[in-house]
Symmetry: C3
Subunit: 140 residues, 3 copies
């Protein structure tokens, strides 16, 4: 079995949903050497997350931001944990609703994504800073 692993630092992105498929593939040249395998992308934070969704129309990503802001309210007076601001606890909740990792099959040296699938970085903080991502690939 081959196994590859890299840590990359994604430059700070504004709050919202961002396509990072290209950055992930560039960070992991070992994908090319795997005929049959898996790729995992893991975010080392609790106020940002990763998901897979539509890679073409930018309004999809804007609608994601709108939906998650409506569904996970900022100023719920029932929050106890709020000392980093009104985006603090909602960011933690959104991170768990979406998840801290995505895992994608590799076939013939390429990610086996569907035509319309891309990897999103979901930045839930107003000023989240750089984000640390671990990319792992394994296979034969």
């Amino acid at each position: 079995m081959k196994m590859f692993q890299e840590i990359i630092a994604l430059k700070e992105k504004r709050r919202g949903f961002h396509l990072i498929t290209r950055e992930i593939i560039q960070a992991m040249p070992g994908i090319n050497e795997i005929k049959m395998g898996m790729l995992q992308v893991f975010i080392q934070h609790t106020s940002a997350s990763l998901t897979i969704n539509e890679n073409a129309d930018p309004t999809v990503r804007e609608d994601f931001e709108m939906f998650f802001n409506k569904t996970v309210k900022e100023n719920d007076t029932d929050y106890q944990h709020d000392y980093e601001g009104s985006d603090d606890m909602p960011a933690h909740l959104k991170a768990s609703l979406l998840g801290s990792s995505v895992i994608i099959p590799i076939q013939n040296g390429r990610l086996a994504l569907g035509t319309w699938q891309g990897i999103y970085l979901c930045e839930h903080r107003d000023f989240g800073g750089s984000r640390s991502i671990v990319v792992s690939a394994w296979g034969i």
Copy 2:
């Protein structure tokens, strides 16, 4: 390490939540050869998803459809992305809330699911068509 990978096309299913555990196991005979390992099931679409839940009572799956329809509204006028119809953007959002893959341990040639666990295909479109699934297994 052994590694197996198959792409299967699931026949069109009506909108809702559907048990597909048997179809997944049949698609991957290599599971039998793995004493200790993992299975991943990945959907190559952004308007359908996969999850693991209760495998016995069909009303659980109907309650899933009811809950997700209430939680992710169809006619929110704040959606920008709606040109494929009122089920378009809600399908993308449900897909990311539930996720594009499930991953299950393999023990002694069988999926190590709990007694009540089954794999659901979650079809979020009114007419989603056939769905393409990548099934991967690896282990010793």
Copy 3:
């Protein structure tokens, strides 16, 4: 490739969100032998779940319980599946919103979690009993 797998029984926990990082690491001494690899934690139940979130302030975990109780209502008269009580169907829904597994990279014999990340057991039933968890690790 090395591969390790253990089933552990977590003692009954009260309804809510609980840090279990230490219990998982103790259950899987093989992590130490893996220089580069992956750990997966899988729960064999459909009314409890696993997620990764903030490992320090206990009020974060209380806010999780508050948020999920508000978002997935107990007494929605539209539920058909309710014969195990008012926490029955909401537990299934929360389990799929959060997910049945977490998967974390291993680097140099340790979990590559971020500073603030911990593994949560999410107990969605009032009396869930002991929970069975499969822990798997693989790598080189």
